[in-house]
């Protein structure tokens, strides 16, 4: 059995699955339930100046019958008095000392405010901090949240204030509402942050009600931009994560990955691209805390199968497999193959290739079942047919190199080789 315990800058947890700073980590009752269910740690919902929330707060995007593919919220940081939060943190840590207790912070924009909040939280028993530089709504108008994360200079200044005071590990959470997370990430690392986490939510409008004509979520006839998360944002999170895991400065600190993680498989992908721990919110908000059971077991089974004994054996292993386009091997070529025994004759591969790609699939009319075959000479190996095929492994891509040697775009140009020879 693999060891799935995690040690993040000395903060230990029995598994790498933390609950992200969000409604599920706002109260003692929730956090105790999470720990009882088996979560490795929590990032307590952001503490700062007390705020007032509105109703409603969430909206979502459904896709083809599946609910909450994307999730959006306009909730602010914790709206409970600081003293209650601190008291509950102390109680929870006492009951579950083996779990990670990170506290998310968003103090007002003065050194004194940050120092005071840090002191109170450390006294309450926090094991680490996560600086909320990412909240995209409500707090930005006050010069907080994403307003800090979007400006490397301001972020750097705040991190410096925090590092003057904090005696426990500090994670800085980055906003994705920028063209690149690297400048802020670099600034924070240079200012001394011990770790980075990403991504926070992405500004969004999930939809418009076609009866009331008011966008979601609805608040007395109006709406505002919210923060988008859930499975839909995972690919974006993985991209931002990779840029942090590859940058010479930011890769020096450990990363806690966030963004649409719903299963152990998602978690492993984040870890392969450089996350030491992962944080989950939307999936728990959709299904409850019980999802952690399969996350632990699935991760364990996968590690056993692959021969990984500890998390560190595979964290970051895929980072170097994302390269620059101009380094890709142009001589690599593969073509689709349709397994006629598995084909159910739905025609989806055909119509998608015919209408939107390279007209590389033959249609032989039948009644009622047509036969579809690949025109290998016309197939560019784009994967589209394989992606839309509803049957697993019915369409496979078969490697047919153009030539044995590696050649990339730069080399191709230097040699003056011809274009469009496929």
């Amino acid at each position: 059995m693999a060891d799935i315990s995690s040690n993040f800058l000395g903060i230990k947890s029995p598994n790498p699955f933390w609950l992200a700073s969000a409604p599920p980590t706002d109260k003692k009752i929730n956090v105790l339930r999470a720990y009882e269910a088996g979560w490795g740690g929590v990032v307590w919902k952001t503490l700062g100046s007390q705020v007032k929330n509105v109703s409603s707060r969430y909206s979502s995007v459904d896709y083809h019958g599946s609910r909450v593919m994307g999730f959006n919220n306009i909730e602010l940081i914790s709206d409970r008095p600081l003293e209650i939060n601190l008291k509950e943190i102390t109680e929870v840590v006492k009951l579950f000392p083996d779990r990670a207790m990170i506290v998310s912070l968003m103090a007002d924009s003065t050194r004194e405010a940050w120092h005071e909040l840090i002191k109170k939280c450390e006294d309450a028993g926090a094991m680490g901090f996560e600086l909320n530089f990412g909240c995209p709504h409500g707090m930005t108008e006050r010069g907080l949240g994403a307003a800090v994360g979007q400006d490397p200079e301001i972020a750097k200044m705040v991190v410096e204030w925090v590092m003057e005071k904090a005696t426990i590990p500090v994670i800085t959470k980055l906003t994705p509402n920028v063209h690149s997370v690297v400048p802020t990430g670099k600034a924070c690392v240079e200012a001394g942050t011990n770790a980075l986490s990403l991504i926070n939510t992405i500004q969004s409008v999930t939809g418009v009600d076609l009866d009331t004509l008011v966008p979601n979520p609805y608040v007395a006839g109006k709406s505002v931009f919210g923060g988008y998360c859930g499975p839909a944002v995972k690919p974006i999170a993985l991209k931002f994560l990779t840029t942090i895991a590859q940058n010479a400065t930011t890769k020096k600190v450990p990363i806690s990955g966030i963004g649409g993680i719903s299963t152990w498989r998602d978690a492993v992908e984040f870890m392969l691209l450089g996350s030491s721990t992962v944080q989950v919110c939307t999936a728990a908000m959709k299904h409850g805390f019980r999802i952690v059971e399969d996350m632990c077991e699935g991760l364990n089974n996968w590690m056993d199968e692959k021969g990984f004994k500890t998390l560190n054996d595979f964290i970051g292993k895929s980072v170097s497999n994302i390269t620059h386009w101009e380094d890709l091997d142009i001589n690599y070529h593969h073509v689709a193959n349709i397994n006629q025994d598995k084909c159910i004759h739905c025609g989806l591969c055909y119509i998608t290739c015919e209408d939107t790609s390279h007209q590389a699939i033959n249609l032989d009319k039948g009644n009622p079942y047509n036969t579809y075959t690949i025109k290998e000479q016309d197939c560019v190996g784009c994967n589209l047919c394989k992606l839309v095929c509803p049957v697993d492994n019915c369409i496979t891509m078969v490697e047919k190199r153009v030539a044995p040697e590696y050649i990339n775009w730069k080399m191709w140009q230097e040699k003056g080789l011809p274009l469009n020879d496929h």
Binding site: I344, C346, Y350, I351, P368, V391
Partner: protein, 446 residues
């Protein structure tokens, strides 16, 4: 003993309630609609005689465009609502669904079709507008699926249509010849009214060709005539005892069941149903549901040759109907003029006949079933007398057509009277084909 009023009102209601209940909620329909893969050149569409664009109408349910969904169905099949209840979909659209090839249950296409079309009929969403009258007049004989389908297309193109119907209600076999647990009389009436809702179609009820009207008269008064009067005469067994009290044909049995109340319909204690087609199943299951103690279906071939679908046979079996294979009626024994027993030849299968079905031949042994009622469901014959009387070219009473036109001037035909008796959906397509030929004959561009 043959008697009526065997059950309580509640029992009748229960026994004849909708055998395939509809989706009760939008959510339930969406779960199934979202399973649809949206196939290209879809096998389900190809398996539908009227070529309904099934993937499109199902996709429209998933986008909450139920109005558009029903439009898609009605564009191909104006009786799409009725067909969703009576089509043997297991051998048509649902039988062709690609999920069958994945060993997964097919999309419940009929149920989804019912979901959309029932909403359309209940809300009277009329999609088709009749063009201004062009002065052309067409007479349609028979307000069944073929006749209504033909009339609907003709009126859309501005033709003034008159339908002559021998019964006092429209719908044809849908109204008079299908098991009551599949379609209710009220539904049939609503569907006919919905179709007629476009306007331009006048239905003259209780008008029978050869009785109240003549073909010559119609030829004189109309620009074209479409014959769609179906088939109707039950095949005779031609065995001793066929005239005894208690011998009934399935068509009459079901006709009575559909046009009277359940309480009024008499059945025996022990009923034998002869035949193994869809009508035989409908007769057997309904005899059971009317309170017959024992129902036995008798067929001269084996289960492998049955002409009903497996799904239908399963319904009969679940209703507790017994089956006897390889038994051909030889004689009906009576007592005091009433049925007492059915004697059958025990058969065996010989070489296939001209149609490819193995020919049953007697083994010399017999078996006797003690029954007090016999329902004959061994097929229907065309109205050959009237067809011959008007010198309409035919094969064994089935009208011969070329692109829906008969050999008689201005006279077209389609549906059961041409094919000898197929599904409702085949008749709807025949009506479409007939309308296209008539429009072309009348030189009306559509």
């Amino acid at each position: 003993m043959i008697k009526n009023n065997r059950l309580t009102t509640e029992q009748y209601e229960h026994n004849f309630s909708d055998i395939k209940p509809p989706f009760e909620t939008q959510d339930a329909a969406l779960v199934e609609a979202n399973r649809c893969l949206f196939c290209y050149d879809a096998p389900c569409t190809k398996a539908c005689p009227t070529s309904i664009d099934v993937p499109k109408f199902i996709k429209q349910i998933t986008t909450y465009n139920v109005k558009g969904s029903a439009h898609t169905i009605f564009q191909s099949n104006i009786m799409g609502a009725g067909c969703s209840k009576v089509c043997p979909v297991e051998k048509l659209c649902e039988g062709a669904c690609v999920y069958n090839l994945m060993e997964e249950p097919p999309i419940p296409i009929a149920k989804l079709q019912r979901y959309s079309t029932e909403k359309a009929i209940n809300n009277n969403w009329q999609y088709f507008e009749r063009k201004k009258s062009n002065g052309k007049k067409v007479a349609v004989i028979g307000a069944g699926p073929a006749g209504l389908s033909c009339a609907h297309i003709l009126t859309r193109e501005g033709v003034d249509v008159t339908i002559y119907e021998k019964e006092n209600k429209g719908g044809g076999l849908m109204t008079y010849g299908i098991a009551a647990y599949k379609v209710t009389p009220q539904f049939c009436e609503d569907e006919v009214n919905y179709i007629l809702g476009i306007g331009g179609i006048e239905v003259k009820y209780n008008q029978e060709l050869g009785k109240n009207i003549s073909l010559e008269e119609l030829q004189k008064n109309y620009d074209a005539i479409y014959i769609a009067f179906g088939v109707g005469l039950a095949n005779k067994l031609n065995i001793p005892g066929e005239e005894l009290e208690g011998v009934e044909d399935a068509i009459t049995f079901i006709y009575n069941l559909r046009s009277k109340t359940y309480k009024e319909i008499s059945v025996g204690d022990k009923v034998a149903v002869i035949g193994m087609g869809m009508t035989a199943i409908d007769a057997a299951t309904q005899a059971k549901r009317l309170g017959a103690k024992e129902v036995t279906m008798v067929y001269r071939r084996t289960e492998a040759e049955k002409s009903c679908t497996q799904h239908e046979l399963d319904i009969a079996r679940l209703d507790g109907c017994a089956t006897i294979w390889l038994a051909a009626p030889k004689e009906i024994v009576g007592e005091n003029g009433k049925v007492k027993a059915l004697i059958c030849d025990v058969m065996q299968l010989a070489e296939p006949d001209a149609k490819g079905k193995p020919l049953p031949v007697p083994t010399g042994q017999t078996l006797t079933l003690n029954v007090d009622m016999i329902i004959k469901a061994t097929g229907q014959n065309p109205y050959s007398n009237i067809i011959s009387a008007y010198a309409i070219d035919n094969t064994k009473g089935k009208i011969n057509i070329q692109q829906s036109a008969t050999n008689v001037s201005k006279v077209f035909a389609g549906g059961d009277c041409v094919n000898g008796g197929k599904e409702v959906v085949d008749a709807v397509q025949a009506g479409k084909d007939g309308a296209a030929s008539i429009l072309s004959f009348l030189q009306i561009k559509n």
